[in-house]
Symmetry: C2
Subunit: 400 residues, 2 copies
């Protein structure tokens, strides 16, 4: 790609994302909806000016990892641990029930093959951690108790999703399913989450020491971004989603990071402040690219809107996608208001669902009709819940 | 490229750039030397871990444009205009004399063909605005009078370079040389430099108005980067180098921007401060990528160090490259100390020279030996002057 063409693309993304986000806010919707729709408008669905390409994908990937880094920075580890059991229940319920329902209905009701049915179930298990978190943060509820539960559940869901994707992929290429591999991945991911924040904390201490000594400006942006990239890479290396590396790095650098066993590593308040201040412009620059890319990846143009199969398929699975995620909420003890909010927050499939769908399409498991139906389900689950959540907060207020 | 591989590349670039820049400063050298050498070490010249690729090139390009934006932000337009005549003389002399000497010696002394000789002359005309400005800013002299003269001359040199490159390219594909085209380009560029800062200023006023109203954070990073990208694209569209678009946008947003004819557009000091504060982390993140890329693009490994032709060729043209740039300085009335500094500051060929050399190589005009010789000349002119300038400032002090 020519440099100046790329500049025009990036410009179009940043500008349209901003304009539509401002518009969304004026229409009393979360700003992330504006950014998603900016992608839909610019992309093949409507104008066809932009297509997802390698460079934009990489920048978008940096965007979501930096967003998770920011979320980690603002997270109180103690609170996250205290709501951990509930997050676990919400994640597990919202993972297995959509999978079972999605698989079962595809296999029996639509008479699809075993593999296709498994992939449909898999797609429905996804939760878009990015959209979920952005909506809560747009509504200024990401530090609330429901925000903590959703965050924990979304992180767990992402880990489960990666494991399932690996399993389905192995199964689809005829490799069978290896439980040993699965447990290895889970073990690695667990080890990562225990060790990564410790390692990141130690690195941050070294960066802090240099920051006060260096004569060259710009140590924090380049070194903190390096740290985040390193943990994203490490997360990938142990088999976890890359964005969780960003989250782990953020947790470690948070003001509210504590170590188990009472080991005390003093958090330098001033350093934490400088990190937040200098990283925020970078984070705000990159994250919209991610959400626009999700919109760009939704090609609504290819869907045959006259096909009755697509209509019945997508409407049925849209309902399944909502019921499935809500079932996790039934098992926790919270007010109905709280359950409603948590349930809706878990519904968006977003980019995680698209990854499943895309793998299904590329490997020939999904034909065009099924892929189109799945894309509609993903689009609906991605766009509707933020609107409902915003409405519900303003109608019923925040849960106690 | 896989995302995690890209993360590792970017991480290696940011980390090595920082480490070597810190090392350079401890060894009393400008930090940019460390970043250039980081590229040489990581690249094909030494370790061979990284190669310039499309994504890194685009990020590097954003880096240099943002650096020029920062330079523009810090530039006093009045001062720049007041030293403009001297900049003009320095640029013109330092452009034509290396060209004539380079062409003449290649054609007569080395018996090279007309086209090859023209391209060698062309390569020697280049001035790396990025390296020149970074060295002065590393030495905290970019706002001095010599800094202003060099900045103006480097900008003019870049414009002349683009025109020459276009002419040589036309000539090389047998299109002859069109004076009408050349004047059109020069006219467009002149119009760009008059109109772009005005347009950018107006846009900045709109951004400022929104910034105080918007509920969504991050307006400044995304909108100012959009502005810079837009003017980079516009610069390209009128036939000027993209980085000059960044410079024009920076000038317009500078606290010291004034309009001719006494038209007053109030510069909101508070807004200027917020722009500087929020753009700086982004600039500091991207610019090292550019200098590392210049180092990566220097493949010293392919050079046959035993060839007597390469030795005589590169040493002769290294001398020509220095004398050529110094000749511009002879025509201005300044102290010898000032002339020395300005002369050395104009010597680095850097990435601009490499663009000429690469075009020569790709189009088959340069054979491997000549290309290798040119690369040595570019490497020497790029690495030596920053060291000499640093030494000269600390030995003789700043010129009056």
């Amino acid at each position: 790609m020519e440099t100046h063409t790329f500049f025009l693309y990036l410009l179009a993304i940043l500008l349209t994302a901003r304009l539509m986000a401002e518009l969304a806010v004026r229409l009393k919707s979360p700003s992330v909806i504006g950014e998603l729709l900016a992608g839909v408008v610019l992309g093949p669905s409507i104008l066809g000016w932009l297509e997802p390409n390698e460079v934009l994908k990489l920048l978008a990937e940096i965007g979501i990892i930096l967003l998770l880094f920011e979320v980690g920075l603002e997270t109180d580890v103690k609170k996250l641990v205290s709501t951990g059991k509930k997050s676990f229940v919400v994640a597990l319920g919202g993972f297995f029930i959509p999978f079972v329902l999605g698989f079962g209905l595809s296999y029996t009701f639509f008479n699809l093959s075993l593999l296709v049915s498994l992939f449909i179930g898999g797609t429905l298990t996804a939760t878009s951690i990015g959209i979920t978190i952005r909506v809560l943060s747009d509504l200024k509820r990401h530090q609330s108790r429901e925000g903590q539960i959703v965050l924990g559940a979304a992180v767990l869901d992402d880990i489960l999703g990666v494991v399932l994707l690996a399993l389905l992929y192995e199964f689809s290429i005829g490799g069978g399913v290896s439980l040993a591999n699965t447990s290895k991945v889970l073990l690695f991911v667990a080890a990562f989450f225990v060790l990564a924040p410790l390692a990141a904390k130690l690195m941050a201490i070294i960066i802090n020491r240099y920051d006060t000594h260096s004569e060259i400006p710009g140590l924090i942006p380049s070194m903190i971004v390096s740290l985040v990239l390193f943990f994203a890479w490490l997360a990938h290396a142990v088999g976890a989603p890359e964005l969780l590396g960003g989250f782990a790095a953020g947790l470690a650098l948070s003001r509210r990071f504590f170590l188990p066993l009472g080991i005390s590593i003093r958090t330098d308040e001033n350093f934490a402040h400088r990190i937040e201040e200098q990283m925020r412009p970078i984070i705000h620059l990159f994250t919209p690219i991610f959400f626009v890319m999700v919109g760009l990846s939704l090609n609504l143009h290819q869907i045959d809107w006259t096909s009755p199969f697509i209509w019945s398929f997508s409407l049925l699975f849209f309902v399944v996608a909502i019921i499935g995620k809500f079932s996790g909420v039934l098992f926790i003890k919270e007010s109905w208001k709280m359950r409603m909010i948590i349930g809706f927050a878990m519904v968006p499939r977003g980019e995680v669902g698209l990854i499943f769908a895309e793998l299904g399409r590329v490997s020939g498991i999904f034909n065009n009709e099924i892929y189109a139906g799945i894309v509609i389900v993903i689009a609906l689950t991605t766009i509707a819940p933020p609107l409902i959540m915003k409405w519900s907060y303003s109608k019923f207020g925040a849960p106690a």
